[in-house]
Amino acid sequence: MTSVIVSSPYLPPGNTLKRLMIQVIIALLPGTLAYAWHFGHGVIINIVIAVLFALAFEAGILKLRAKPVMPHLTDFSAVVAAWLFALCLPMHSPWWLVLVGIGFTMVAGKHLYGGLGFNPFNPAMVGYVVLLISFPREMTTWYLPASVSGETLSLTDALHYALGNVDIGRWDALSSATPLDQVKTAIGQSISISEIRSSPVFGEFGGKGWEWIAFWWFIGGLWLLLTRTIRWHIPVALLGGVLGMALLFYLLNPEIYASPLFHLLSGAVVIGAFFIATDPVTAATTDMGRVVYGLLIGLLIYVIRVWGGYPDGVAFAVLLANMCVPLIDYYTQPRVYGEK
């Protein structure tokens, strides 16, 4: 009757990739909106540009590889990667920075390895790291939140900035290093933590504005856990790793090591724990392996932040842990039914 035999299970499609990605996008919304609230339209513009370029690159590469374009574009994996990538960039980055970054993300980070499911490194992090190393000036030009500077750029101004027409006068008043960067520089100058914390850019726990965004990433992460889009192992292990390291050193010397809460709520730790490190393609696959993977990233984040050359170590930590994944998977295989 049939030439190709299709085997059971015979079920209507349940979970799909698209559904998974849509859940991630829903989880990203609260944090993204909080970001825009505190810092203006820049982040939205970046996301839009990144998503459009990502889809364009993906379609182009798929055509070159002579593969069907629509099924891959409509699974939203490129959208999620682009969104996460855009969130890592300074909010008023020029458009060409986004283009170069997303190009590396899509092409070198994903398709050169064979497309979805085959890349060993987190694509968004690959793109970000390439930009960080190649364009240090643009990548370290961050802006103050509205609560500190008192204003944000209007939409038209933000668009101007995106197109590269920076108004030098205003730029001076609005731009600044991130709170993490400031802490790192100040510590290098032997200023104590308590003095640093008294600066107006710091809120209750972390940087003003930034701590709220971290909170909303956390809410998004809870949504992902609730909908069983991700499992608890990586976020708990990662946050535990950062918390553990930070607590240890904070207890040793609170004046040169920032508090654990500061570390948790600054930079990309929360978004990294729930959105970036949990990228299924590049993370470990066994339960125990995921715990080890998360702990490793947490450890590396703290090490790079305190003793490394960069103010935030999430991207590098994730990439380094990606390299260790095959080894972690090999040594954390679970016990099979019937085995001792």
Binding site: I5, S7, K67, P68, M70, P71
Partner: protein, 186 residues
């Protein structure tokens, strides 16, 4: 300086003695690799690889005289197993030596034509043909390896090769098509 020379010479002598002793005490008779290669070959003894049997081909592979892709009855699976054993590259089956058949052939004798000359019995490398002089000859299908060595000697050309009988137990599930090959329906 003298001490260094003495020490190194002493160590060299010591290790040389150990190696010499090991070479004699643990000497392995014959070349075990040949056995392991032979174990992977299908034992058809057909000669399609240009060697007079599976064992000579195994020896040739072990000596590096022959590549691993000359055995059609073994097919790609045997080539892969040999490559894995010898830690070499997997090659494509060399089509000059023949094609791999998914359903092996077995010989069958047309009893109306057979004259009982025993030439095929003498030719069969695995003694799969039953019979005697001036008596009916018949091929034991389960033991026939499909090597076709009985066909040339037969003076009345009464042997045919037919696909071996596949029962329902021989059926295999087909693997799903490679996702790289799948295209969405229009």
């Amino acid at each position: 300086m003298i001490l260094a020379i003495l020490t190194i010479s002493l160590m060299a002598g010591l290790f040389g003695l150990i190696l010499g002793y090991a070479a004699i005490r643990f000497k392995v008779e014959g070349n075990p690799v040949v056995e392991r290669i032979d174990a992977l070959l299908p034992q058809t003894q057909c000669g399609q690889c240009t060697y007079p049997g599976c064992r000579p081909y195994a020896e040739a592979i072990a000596n590096g005289e022959a590549p691993i892709n000359q055995c059609p009855p073994g097919g790609q699976a045997t080539i892969a197993a040999l490559a894995s054993l010898l830690d070499t590259e997997v090659l494509e089956l060399n089509a000059e030596h023949g094609d791999h058949l998914d359903v092996p052939l077995v010989a069958v004798i047309d009893e109306q034509t057979c004259i009982g000359c025993t030439l095929c019995i003498q030719a069969c490398p695995v003694d799969a043909i039953l019979g005697a002089s001036k008596h009916m000859h018949t091929v034991i299908a389960e033991e026939c390896t499909g090597c076709k060595l009985c066909l040339p000697p037969c003076p009345v050309d009464c042997i045919d090769m037919i696909p071996s009988q596949q029962t329902i137990d021989d059926w295999k599930w087909s693997a799903p098509p490679d996702p790289m090959e799948l295209v969405q329906d229009a």
